[in-house]
Amino acid sequence: MADAGNTAATEQDLPQQAGPGRPPSTTRRHLQDIAIEMFSTQGYDEVTIEALAAAAGISRRTFFRYFSSKADALMADFDEDVERLRAVLAGGNPDLPLMDAIRTAVVEVNDYHADDLDRLRQRLLLQHSNPALLANGILHYEEWQAVVAEFAAGRLGRQPGDLLPQVIARSVFGAAYAGFMSWLADERGDLSPRLDDALRAIPGAFQAQPVAASRRGPPAGL
């Protein structure tokens, strides 16, 4: 975790901008670290964009090259995940059945390492403690779901807005989010196996036998 006192880098320390295009993700991540630290210690509503930018040694104007709002500064890792998900889905084995392709891509993209998991935990906690951050997070989640819907629609020969691609996108996101929340609740083990289990729980539920039936003893007469 970056210490806010040590993050007052000068503007020269940051990677130089090479014209328009997507700014380097390292800078976005650096700003995200600062945002997590400042939002956590001072409260999201108390932190200004000026203060965030100053802590990173950049101007307010430069801040807006990386993020369009204060709340977006929290979503750098997530935005990167969305793009990775798009790339992994596009580059996957076309012979893999659709739902397996989506499940393995989601698990692969969420293969967080220890440092990343720490950031993830802090982001989720911040989102759940501030309505504005939560609402903004939901907008980013829409992007993630749009990526899944586009991929499913492409495979199915449908439009991303059709019911089936939307059902797939929203159910897969729901399962993944349940995996995140379940991991956040006990923080035991790695995140990605939890996501895999969550995604497998959906087909599992369609096979579920009522407990009453399985608990029944051996057939009478034995």
């Binding site: 059945p97 659709l98 739902m99 309505p131 504005a132 939560l134 609402a135 939901i138 907008l139 199915l156 020969g157 449908r158 807005g161 019911l163 089936l164 939307q166 059902v167 797939i168 996108a169 929203r170 159910s171 996101f173 729901g174 399962a175 989010y177 349940a178 995996g179 929340m181 379940s182 609740a185 939890r194 289990d197 969550a198 729980a201 959906i202 087909p203 599992g204 539920a205 369609f206 096979q207 579920a208 009522p210 407990v211 009453a212 039936a213 608990r215």
Partner: protein, 244 residues
């Protein structure tokens, strides 16, 4: 159709009948001046208050509408407003809690041999079945809930309560705690599917909500390997598409 009559009680919740309506009349009588100045009959039910509020939200936006605005337009006092709704954010949700309790009881009453996901489909379709005269209001309600950024954070509490009902049912059926991974996951998944159906419904003025909800749940079945009979059109449709 008695089922419909019960379903639309979202508009006329049980707690309107436990003496609050009487209390409202007495309280409203204390502000006859404001009421007559507004030139309209003061509201005497929760549903009416909701309709007045929806009109204001449409005209001036949800965020710019205050509780005082709603109370004034309804010809009631601010305190009376709070007898009907704990906050402005609760207005679009109507009698959600009451309906949710009804869904919980419905799930409990379904035959235990009914497959898990079929039971969830049946309960969700029922939860989202409304009498024809309620449909225009329900469209406005759901548009507010799903498309008002300022309501998102508040709504997460209601969504959580809804998921909890599904999670408890799944947990009971498969012998796990409601917050174990599978029950929790099914709560999120069912909610996601319902939201997908709602988005389609809000896009198409002539679409039938119950049918869409039913199709969406059947497509989930088709997409994830099928626990419903293959004769089911939605599931078969999804299966065909997935194997293509």
């Amino acid at each position: 159709m008695p089922r419909l009559a019960v379903a639309c009680s979202w508009e006329r919740s049980a707690w309107l009948n436990c003496g609050r309506e009487g209390g409202e009349t007495v309280a409203a009588a204390a502000v006859p001046v404001a009421a007559s100045r507004a030139g309209r009959k003061r509201v005497t039910s929760r549903a009416e208050l909701e309709h007045v509020a929806f009109d204001l939200f449409d005209r001036q936006g949800f965020e710019r509408t205050t509780v005082d605005d709603i109370a004034r337009a309804a010809g009631i006092g601010r305190r009376t407003f709070f007898r009907y709704f704990p906050s402005k954010n609760d207005v679009p949700w109507g009698s959600f809690e009451t309906e949710l309790e009804r869904m919980r009881l419905h799930l409990k009453a379904l035959p235990p041999q009914m497959p898990l996901m079929e039971a969830i489909r049946v309960a969700i379709v029922d939860f989202n079945t409304f009498a024809p005269e309620q449909i225009p209001w329900h469209r406005r309600r759901m548009r507010l809930i799903l498309q008002t950024p300022a309501l998102q954070a508040h709504s997460t509490l209601r969504y959580a309560a809804w998921r909890q009902v599904i999670g408890e049912f799944v947990g009971e059926r498969i012998g796990q705690c409601p917050d174990a991974l599978a029950p929790r996951t099914l709560g999120y998944v069912a909610l996601g599917v319902a939201v997908a159906a709602y988005e389609q419904w809000l896009e198409a003025d002539d679409a039938d909500l119950s049918d869409l909800m039913d199709s969406a749940m059947r497509q989930l079945a088709g997409a994830f390997g099928g626990g419903l009979a293959s004769a089911d059109s939605g599931a078969a449709d999804a299966k065909d598409a997935l194997s293509a």
